[in-house]
Amino acid sequence: MRPVHSKIDKSFYGYFFIAPFFIGFAVVGLAPILYTFYLSLTKWDGFSDPVYVGAANYTRLLHDSFFYQTIGSTLVIWVMSIVPQLILALALALILNERFVKGKHFFRAIFYFPHIVTPVTLGVLFSLMFDWQTGSINKMLESIGLIHDPINWFNNPWWSRIIVASVICWQYFGFNMIVFIAGLQSISSEVYEAAAVDGATKGTIIRKITLPLLRPVFLFTFITSVIGGLQLFDAPLMLGDGPGNSTRTMIMYLYETAFKNFDYSYGSAIAYGIFIVVMFFTAITARASRLKD
């Protein structure tokens, strides 16, 4: 029989290797999350001591029309950005996976670049470009004769939402395209050859073979984009709340409540509210994608 703590058995050392993660997680991950929950049950302005108030913040949240509005705006912006984003990414991935296309790496690099640019910077850049009186977009549309008077983009709730959604779409389609190309390249070429031997046309191959085989990658992208899309913050913050708060996202509301109005305890309740909303929509998406199988 082998002794439990033989000198050769070094398994125990593994704990030292993984310990920093768990210490880090406890201090900057778990403790803040639990503390936020505690704060959500109190009334605290940041100066005096927090006073326990039970579920009062959550009751307030359930009747907060601003909160529901931010859920709605976030969902609308997310849907308006994710649909064109995935279609564009898929189309480009299929094209760049074709053998005849030259300069593949060049196109991939150009399409991917917006994804690594600082979102705050993009927000500022696009808010300048879409400025009503001085922005280059209106100047361009006027010079090619599409419009006669400048459009006051950020004065209209739907234009504002479309602009925010377009910026998000513009920033992420390249990333999704790279993911789709990776998925396409993992499909074995034998499948295509077999189809070509059977005389299948290009369109049939794409519909009957490529898209079904790409499904898992597509779902992965969709589910991760729910989690990411519902937490939009940096770029929308720079583009502003929009008329009647029409482009205020959930995280913007959290930030404004906690760090601008210093209502930390209600902000904490909002954080948990957002958490529930995100989990809810992630579960629905995951469920819906499983039902279709």
């Binding site: 993660f21 803040p32 936020t36 094209i95 690099a109 850049l125 100047k139 990776a182």
Partner: protein
Amino acid sequence: MRSGLTVSRTFVYLFLAAVTFVCLVPFYSMMITSTHANADIASKLLLWPGAELANNYERLTEAVNIWRGFANTVFISVTATALNVYFAALAGYGFSKYRFRYRGGLFLFVLGTMMIPGQLGIIGFYKVMNMMNLLDTYWPLLLMSLYNAFGIFLMRQFADASIPDEIIESGRIDGCGELQIFHRLVLPLMGPAIATLAIFSFIGKWNDFLTPMIILFDNDKQTLPVMIASVKSQFSSDFGAQYVGIVISVVPLLVFFSVMSRKIISGVAAGAVKG
């Protein structure tokens, strides 16, 4: 038949060219506009470079110490990336090569932390850092890079596939300690995984906005993204200065990307397939 093929290929290239145009125009417009005076920016469509870059730059740097923010961001991004990569490699290697008790469960826990939305604990994070007297220091930003579940996942995959057990055994026979084996023998072999994770981590830290904004108060400690945001409100009608700020934020990324684009894109693809 032949001409039909040519037509469809022409359409494909036109489509690619159109998307390329949409991707590049904002950056072109940004650089061109930053070289013009405010009066011209407000009244004309600008297509060619002007001569006002130096003046715009001067007005910006008089009010905002943007290079200080740049240096701060470089310091934070580099330090946090180094910590992030080192501890991810440490834990990934630990999970890969040591058969300790509850290994499977603990690894699942690590993966589970990826599901937590980043902003859930942000208010508590602020408060906990306040209690530890770490507000207005870089410690909170560096501490956050200690825990990176995705990095551990990536490193474990790599160690499982490419670090042979024999190397570790031979190190033990030579009398090396466990940590020494990791530093001398394993870490050099993890180069490719380290490079991939370092790129992701660096870009993430470089673009980080919310955490530095709430943790740091002193303007001289602030990071570049937060400075860009404050330039927007500070220079609300000075477009030239705002554009110069944006250019300073984008151009280094553009250079970094044009040098590293192959590595970055293959890293994204590898990370996505594994995830």
